[in-house]
């Protein structure tokens, strides 16, 4: 085996491994009880996204993907956790037990079904587009994480994990996007990164407000209107 071939095979396997761990972290966001661990998992997922972008950028020789990696690290690994820690008070993070709408084993099983569903959607697309080996990994996993993020929003009853679910959806979309559109315009990336920051800020401030009024952030219990 020649040298570029060897490098290529390592690159594909490492990218697939990143994808596998990415999926696992998405499962973790659905099922982990501790709020602080959820936040750390989100940071880890963003880091994995950046790593995958770096590998794909190296393979395609695309400067855009390096920019994506850089933006992801700056925005999602440093700024968003900092923002969320600042806006949402410490006592929300110190909580260990998060209540869930569905119990954890059941929600994990549903998450698995969602993943298989995502693969079934992605498969015809991949065959139709004659996708390369990177897209074969990134597109289904990105799609799965997109739906898993939405599932996280539905199944969680606390504000911060719901917010992390929305952010994880965005991560999933990017994870699929870097493989199918490696030369995305720089403008779109900047806009997306900025959008996410605004989402995090607004939701964080909202959560803080809820926490101030109610003394807790369990938004799942806010189902009846109340007059004051």
């Amino acid at each position: 085996m020649s040298d570029p071939d060897l490098l290529f095979s390592f690159l594909t396997k490492l990218n697939a491994l990143t994808g596998g761990v990415f999926l696992l972290v998405a499962f973790g966001l659905v099922a982990i009880r501790q709020m602080l661990t959820c936040l750390r998992l989100y940071v880890f997922q963003s880091l994995l996204l950046a790593i995958s972008a770096l590998m794909l950028g190296y393979h395609y020789g695309s400067i855009h993907l390096f920019v994506v990696a850089g933006l992801t690290i700056i925005a999602k690994v440093f700024i968003i956790p900092w923002l969320l820690r600042r806006t949402v008070g410490y006592e929300s993070y110190a909580k260990r037990e998060i209540s869930q709408a569905i119990n954890i084993p059941a929600s994990l099983l549903i998450a698995l079904a969602i993943t298989i569903f995502a693969y079934f959607i992605a498969n015809p697309m991949l065959t139709a587009a004659h996708a390369g080996i990177f897209a074969r990994v990134n597109l289904p996993i990105g799609l799965a994480c997109l739906i898993l993020g939405a599932f996280t929003v539905t199944v969680r009853r606390e504000a911060v994990p719901q917010l992390l679910g929305i952010l994880a959806m965005e991560n999933g979309a990017f994870f699929a996007g870097i493989a199918i559109a490696p030369t995305l315009p720089l403008f779109a990336e900047l806009a997306a990164a900025f959008d996410v920051l605004i989402i995090a800020l607004v939701m964080g401030l909202l959560t803080m407000k809820i926490h101030k009024t109610l003394g807790k952030t369990a938004v799942g219990e806010l189902i009846a209107l109340k007059e004051e």
């Binding site: 697939a16 954890i104 698995l112 298989i116 990994v137």
Partner: protein
């Protein structure tokens, strides 16, 4: 042919001789982490020696099952040892008697007999521990099945000797997501199957909270020694399957010379000690889960194994 037969017997002897040592090292390291001095690493040998020289008391109301179980528990890991790579990376005399599924079934047979024997005497704690072990067991079973199918699908075989070569030929296969995630799921499976924290506390002395240990409470003398020794060997064999078949085949003898095979014994011990260090870190940093949280732990293992299956299947 004769040398292969001898090597096979050597594997059995290594497993028999070194299993209590690994148990001792694990206990010692755990105590050291808690800043205690801990028992000597040879303490399990002394325990087994002492128990062999004690009188055995058997309940009058128990049946032959109770008397036969220690021998079954003692012998089943040894049968598995004949099938799996412990010292060599090429098949030995008995290697084709069964594949990995057979190994799993033989180990399960020992667990089955231990469960029946625990119920046999009528001691209230025995059936409780037995039913809990069954609960953990049937939750762990789907994980084992998915791991097994993923591994055999990706490697194209169920013979452990072929599977272990697949992970490193070429070396890029080592980073296959199916491989890494399967390893992760199997590590969780080992923790559940051998009754370690966070599933069960192996050093606990509170009968109501026991899962695995309470099955052996009724045994004394030789029976207790065989149960203890068998448990240590089951742990050793599971570690061997994990390290030599699933993680990495490095350090196994590839030649047929006697010195190479003898040299492989300390290498496998070093590998297992590294695994034990990881287990000690896990055990010391986590708390024991409540009984009904075990489903969540094994649910996570199941999700991991299915993620391995999905990424492995569609990556092909």
């Amino acid at each position: 042919m004769l040398s292969k037969f001898i090597f096979n017997l050597m594997q059995v002897i290594v497993v028999m001789a070194c299993a209590p040592l690994i148990k001792g090292i694990l206990n010692r390291l755990k105590e050291n982490v808690q800043s205690k001095r801990g028992p000597s690493i040879f303490q399990p040998y002394r325990d087994i020696w002492k128990l062999f020289h004690k009188d055995e008391v058997v309940s009058e109301d128990s049946s032959w099952l109770f008397r036969a179980t220690p021998y079954v528990v003692f012998v089943t890991p040894l049968f598995v040892t004949l099938l799996i790579p412990v010292l060599t990376d090429y098949p030995l005399f008995f290697a084709f008697m069964g594949d990995m599924l057979a190994g799993g079934f033989i180990l399960a047979l020992g667990g089955f007999f231990a469960t029946l024997a625990a119920i046999d005497t009528g001691n209230p704690y025995g059936p409780m521990g037995a039913s809990r072990t069954r609960m953990v067991g049937f939750l762990a079973e789907p994980v084992f099945m998915i791991v097994f199918f993923t591994v055999s699908f990706v490697a194209g075989s169920t013979i452990p000797y072929i599977v272990q070569k697949h992970w490193v030929t070429p070396l890029a296969n080592f980073f296959d997501p199916a491989h890494v995630l399967t390893v992760l799921a199997f590590l969780m499976l080992i923790i559940a199957e051998t009754g370690r924290i966070p599933v069960d506390n192996p050093s606990g002395h509170f009968e109501l909270a026991m899962i695995d240990e309470s099955k052996g409470l009724e045994y004394s003398g030789r029976g207790a020694a065989l149960m203890k020794w068998g448990g240590a060997m089951k742990f050793f064999v599971l570690c061997c399957i994990f390290l030599n078949v699933l993680v990495a085949p490095w350090g196994l003898a590839s030649g047929t010379a006697y010195w190479q095979v003898v040299l492989a014994a300390p290498l496998i011990l070093i590998k297992i000690i590294i695994l034990v260090l990881i287990l000690v870190v896990i055990e010391s940093s986590l708390a024991k889960l409540r009984l009904f949280r075990i489903t969540e732990f094994l649910g996570a293992a199941f999700a991991t194994s299915v993620a391995a299956m999905i990424t492995g299947l569609f990556f092909m």
